[in-house]
Subunit: 375 residues, 2 copies
């Protein structure tokens, strides 16, 4: 689909008119289209049922900075990516998870992207590696080893460009010649942290830097937490390499679980404070223990194949009992909702989501509307 | 029950007449009593259905060394413990596991014990800590920390007196003033390894050294593997602190799983060869990740209490879904077999055994004959 200039302006206007993610606004755009949605927000008159959009956009509706935002993006080499673009990633799991997680859990309305890598490609062939800002030398060493292996298997590396594990993950990906994506909690024109401006420039040169925030947006605590959901949503699986008990990486891990993404954690010495979060995730059964790249690959693609094998193995060999039950709960024809699968499989909703995600990766099931069907 | 001198002689005779464990011999004794069993073996004429005893005892039946074995034991301060003695531990799980594991999995016929601690007491209040002979300093350090915590919680420590983790576990238990049991793969009069003779003497002074092998028996590879089942059977839970990919500790872990004993493993650096076995056990779901003594306690007694709390909490709060299903599958009156529980709970046999073991520890179920009933 070709986006007209007025549509681009409308997307850019709506991208700033409410703090993202704004579920009511995304819903309005999905229903009436971006041009009509922008016009409705601008004049403060929305279709019946969409009144909550007005509250969310009241403060910024009269301030159309779309032209300057697009100009700033262009100046820093960034592009606006919308659901109209081919490279728009699916985000089906984010849409599904929305009911559980409220507005913070919605799909992004748009993404600003800087760098040659296509978002849709990376989102289906990447592992997110996250961890402590205050990483230990053990954690940094293991991150390097893991990234090297994963890149060799053909995976890209997604992370948050922060100090510690994030930065090492991006650097190791670049050093190994792998693709890498940095998801920011600030505007695409900003370098955060500032000390990583050179790293971000390198990622933008050979991978991609991405943000759902309009240009000039500053990093803020609530935006890190919101950003973490995109790290989980824009990868096939999430691995926590090192995390203290209250690390932000645990928030990304929680998003992985909510989205049904395979989640792994790397163990470390029990005497190390920066492994406590990883050990808790494993001990609670939220994360699988992953000790090397092969284990991450098996977790991300349970048929044991590499990225390039995805979709070629379509039988149900090697499924866990729960995955098998979820698979068998899908009807021979037509689609059913997650809740219907929960009911007929007798499996809890979180596990159903996790199983559907795995089955989707294996090419066994597919989304249809807001439901799921056998592929 | 008081054991007569002729019964003691009969037990001692039978304890040497076949390589332990000898399931047919144990079955014969259970059916006809120790005196008649000894007489039958000595004259080479056994009741119909027990013919396999003859093959197992043919080589040694004519060689009654019971008098000298009892004398050797007495000289080194050891006692013969038989199912007739009050301190005989239950071994119900070993009896149950027998069908799966063949002769090597049977109950011991007798135990030789050296030291003041009672076997039955320690068997229901101990954690087995096992691991690599070639332990790292990390593994030794963590063993010391764990033992100190566990002793503080009131647990005894069971291990195999080997170099590495085993030795550190016993020493740390003695140093913390805790009870400890060393299970040998050789005769009770032997010090194996010889370099641990002083350690074994200290254990015999304040804890207990135990063996199912008659005096003078030398340690041999197959006896280590057989001994490992007793380490698992004589403790409430097994923890592998450090293990290479082919460590003997993994065999003890396998016995823990077969016997339905809670099994934990301590993680370590993924770059350490001596943590590979632990990580495999955790990643495969055979072992829980345990990072400290509190986690071991929770694993061994899921209601979260210490040893002294066992039996006081008899409700089903805190059970896992599988434990709950197994519990609910037991009838209001009477006992059922494990296979019947498997059928009615729809849970795999290994998981049923594990759940029954946990429920038994929690005082919720009890063995009755070869079946299980609600307590």
């Amino acid at each position: 689909m070709t986006t007209t200039e007025s549509e681009r302006r409308a997307w850019a206007y709506l991208a700033r008119v409410a703090e993202p993610p704004c579920v009511p606004l995304t819903a309005l755009v999905a229903e009436v289209g971006v041009l009509e949605a922008a016009a409705a927000v601008a004049r403060g008159l929305v279709p019946r049922g969409h009144e909550s959009v007005l509250k969310a956009t009241r403060a910024r509706a009269g301030d159309d900075r779309s032209e300057s935002d697009l100009a700033v993006a262009e100046k820093c080499g960034a592009r606006l990516v919308t659901p109209d673009d081919d490279e728009w990633p699916g985000f089906s799991l984010l849409a599904l998870a929305n009911a559980d997680t409220g507005e913070r859990g919605g799909m992004p309305l748009v993404l600003w992207a800087r760098g040659p890598a296509r978002l849709d490609d990376l989102a289906v062939s990447s592992i997110a590696l996250v961890g402590s800002r205050a990483a230990s030398s053990y954690g940094e060493h293991v991150t390097g080893l893991l990234v090297e292996e994963l890149v060799e298997y053909g995976w890209g590396i997604v992370s948050g460009a922060a100090f510690g594990i994030d930065g090492v993950a991006h650097r190791a990906a670049l050093a190994s010649g792998g693709a890498t994506m940095a998801v920011l909690a600030c505007g695409i024109d900003r370098d955060y942290p500032a000390a990583h401006s050179r790293l971000l420039a390198e990622i933008a040169e050979r991978g991609v830097v991405v943000s759902e925030y309009p240009p000039h947006t500053t990093a803020a605590r609530h935006r890190f937490l919101t950003r973490n959901r995109l790290v989980a949503a824009l990868s096939n699986a999430v691995v926590v390499v090192e995390a203290g008990a209250r690390s932000g990486a645990v928030s990304t891990a929680a998003w992985a679980v909510k989205l049904g993404r395979p989640l792994g954690a790397v163990p470390g010495p029990v005497t190390s404070a920066t492994s406590v979060g990883c050990h808790e995730l494993i001990a609670d059964g939220r994360a699988l223990l992953v000790a090397d790249g092969a284990a991450v690959r098996t977790m991300a693609v349970p048929d044991g194949g590499g990225v390039t094998d995805r979709g070629t193995t379509r039988n149900t060999d090697g499924l866990t009992p729960i995955q098998q039950r979820v698979h068998d709960a899908l009807p021979g024809r037509g689609a059913v909702t997650v809740e219907e699968v929960v009911f007929s499989a007798g499996v809890q909703i979180g596990e159903v989501r996790a199983a559907l995600a795995v089955l989707e990766l294996g090419g066994l099931v597919a989304m249809q509307g807001s439901g799921w069907r056998l592929a």
